[in-house]
């Protein structure tokens, strides 16, 4: 019996030591586009399309050997799945590009915790409950800044407002975003910056914003309230979803229900259930972020 136990212990020890946890010495860089994830196939397709549109340009100079996409929750491929794939192919560095608008616990705590970069107690417990796998890769991970780091969101919203605007002096812009409880101040400031830019570009001087996510318990009434605020001063409200991609639950069900509560909505509300993607500036931003980090990695010691 003792021998058997010793044998089993030896096998276990061998299995543990066989795992090579050291970062490969030969430099091999990959790029991982990480988005929130959704049960909506349309939403996920927008993100995989983004991957398809940027991969050739990112890999063109041969410095980046692969580009992959991962979803933080709901569906595969997960972050852990993709990081394991990079490890299997001996990547030394993975540049993680979070496709998130601005600061929130997802890019700041959850993603680094999933990748083993950080141990946030609340994230750790939450990802366990939600069945999200945590995986610390052998490859070094480098997280790029978020979308609000540049002015691409401002340009995106201004372009979409222009597309549905007919009489700027009689219209107001209503921005509907997911929102975040911890960083509500920052989300509000971002949308204020966006609205000021829209005003400069389109001449639409009245704006409001509302949340549609967990912060407001997915209440369409918050969309209605934001629209009504604009309609006090203007004849027509242009409703623009500040959401990365199209998800039927948000653009149709939640925002749509909020608009349905407006009297005479056909005359008073202009709404196109679109999203930030597709956007050429965003594609360029992903390419630039990857290129910038490749340069940084190459300048750092192996």
């Amino acid at each position: 019996m003792k021998r058997l136990i010793l044998l089993l212990l030896a096998i276990t020890l061998l299995a543990c030591t066989n795992k090579n946890r050291t970062t490969p010495t030969t430099r091999k860089i990959g790029v991982l586009l990480v988005s929130h994830g959704s049960r909506s196939e349309t939403w996920r397709k927008a993100l995989t399309d983004l991957d398809g549109r940027v991969r050739n340009a990112i890999m063109a100079d041969g410095k980046v050997k692969d580009v992959k996409s991962a979803f933080m929750e709901y569906t595969e491929p997960s972050i852990a799945t993709r990081l394991k794939e990079f490890d299997q192919h001996d990547f030394s560095d993975v540049i993680v590009v979070p496709i998130f608008l601005t600061v929130s616990p997802h890019p700041f705590d959850d993603i680094p915790t999933i990748m083993g970069q950080k141990t946030d107690p609340q994230s750790l417990e939450t990802i366990k409950v939600e069945g999200i796998e945590r995986y610390t890769p052998r490859a070094r991970t480098h997280i790029t800044p978020l979308l609000d780091f540049t002015d691409l969101l401002q340009k995106n919203i201004a372009r979409r407002a222009k597309a549905i605007s007919t009489t700027p002096d009689k219209e107001g812009v209503v921005l509907i975003a997911y929102g975040d409880e911890t960083y509500e101040k920052e989300w509000g400031a971002l949308l204020d910056r966006v609205s000021q830019y829209v005003e400069k570009e389109t001449g639409i001087g009245v704006h409001s914003y509302g949340w549609c996510g967990h912060l407001v318990h997915y209440d369409p009434g918050k969309t209605t309230a934001a629209i009504e605020k604009v309609l006090v001063a203007r004849d027509k409200a242009l409703v623009i979803p500040v959401l990365v991609a199209h998800d039927e639950r948000f653009q149709i069900k939640l925002i749509g229900a909020g608009i349905d509560r407006i009297g005479n909505k056909e005359q008073r509300v202009v709404y196109k259930p679109d999203s930030i993607l597709p956007d050429e500036d965003l594609e360029q931003w992903v390419r630039d972020a990857a290129r910038h980090h490749v340069t940084k990695i190459e300048a750092s010691p192996k």
């Binding site: 705590d109 950080k118 141990t119 107690p121 609340q122 417990e125 939600e130 069945g131 318990h217 997915y218």
Partner: protein, 187 residues
């Protein structure tokens, strides 16, 4: 070998209903408890208890803090050893401890300390109900089928006026009313 009589089938039916009923009783209670908890997940956290404590520190604006200053913040919430600290924005710092965090807005001087712990009983039953442990889904499928069996066998336990042919059929019809009304109202 003879075909089982109606009486034999009735006895088998009662025995099946009784024994499977005993077998699934613990899980029925677990699933009902977690069902109630998860039904209201938008107004309370069924899985975790978050102990919160607000603190106030002198407002400093956009600064980078020295480890000694981070240590001093920790002393205000009874934490003497931090793991790491990070800046979510230019004027905010988040300090991580063993099972807690302290998030300080350096512009306003307001800080929020949060210690997370699992809500006893609810956490465990929620893990099962939500299939957080992936292989559990097969057990959950089997459990669902057993519940159907308990239900169907239950229909044939009594005969006569109190059985399925008597008041039973009216009570089944009455049970269909709430979901039908809800679906009609939902549109």
């Amino acid at each position: 070998m003879r075909w089982p009589s109606v009486r034999d089938l009735r006895r088998l039916n009662v025995a099946t209903h009784r024994d499977i009923g005993y077998f699934v009783s613990a899980l029925v209670i677990a699933y009902c408890t977690s069902g109630l908890a998860l039904n209201h997940a938008d107004i309370w956290n069924p899985d975790f208890v978050i102990h919160k404590k607000k603190i106030t520190v002198p407002a400093r604006g956009e600064v980078r803090l020295e480890p000694a200053e981070i240590q001093a913040y920790g002393a205000l919430v009874g934490e003497n050893r931090y793991r790491v600290f990070d800046y979510p924005t230019r004027d905010q710092v988040k300090i991580y401890y063993e099972s807690a965090t302290l998030h300080v807005d350096l512009s306003s001087g307001m800080g929020l300390y949060e210690r997370v712990s699992r809500r006893p009983l609810f956490y465990q039953v929620d893990v099962l109900h939500r299939n957080s442990f992936k292989p559990w889904r097969w057990a959950a499928d089997a459990f669902a089928l057993l519940l159907v069996l308990v239900n169907v066998t239950g229909l044939f336990i009594l005969k006569g006026a109190r059985g399925l042919g008597g008041r039973g059929k009216w009570l089944i019809a009455a049970g269909l009313v709430p979901p039908l009304v809800a679906l009609v109202l939902h549109g």
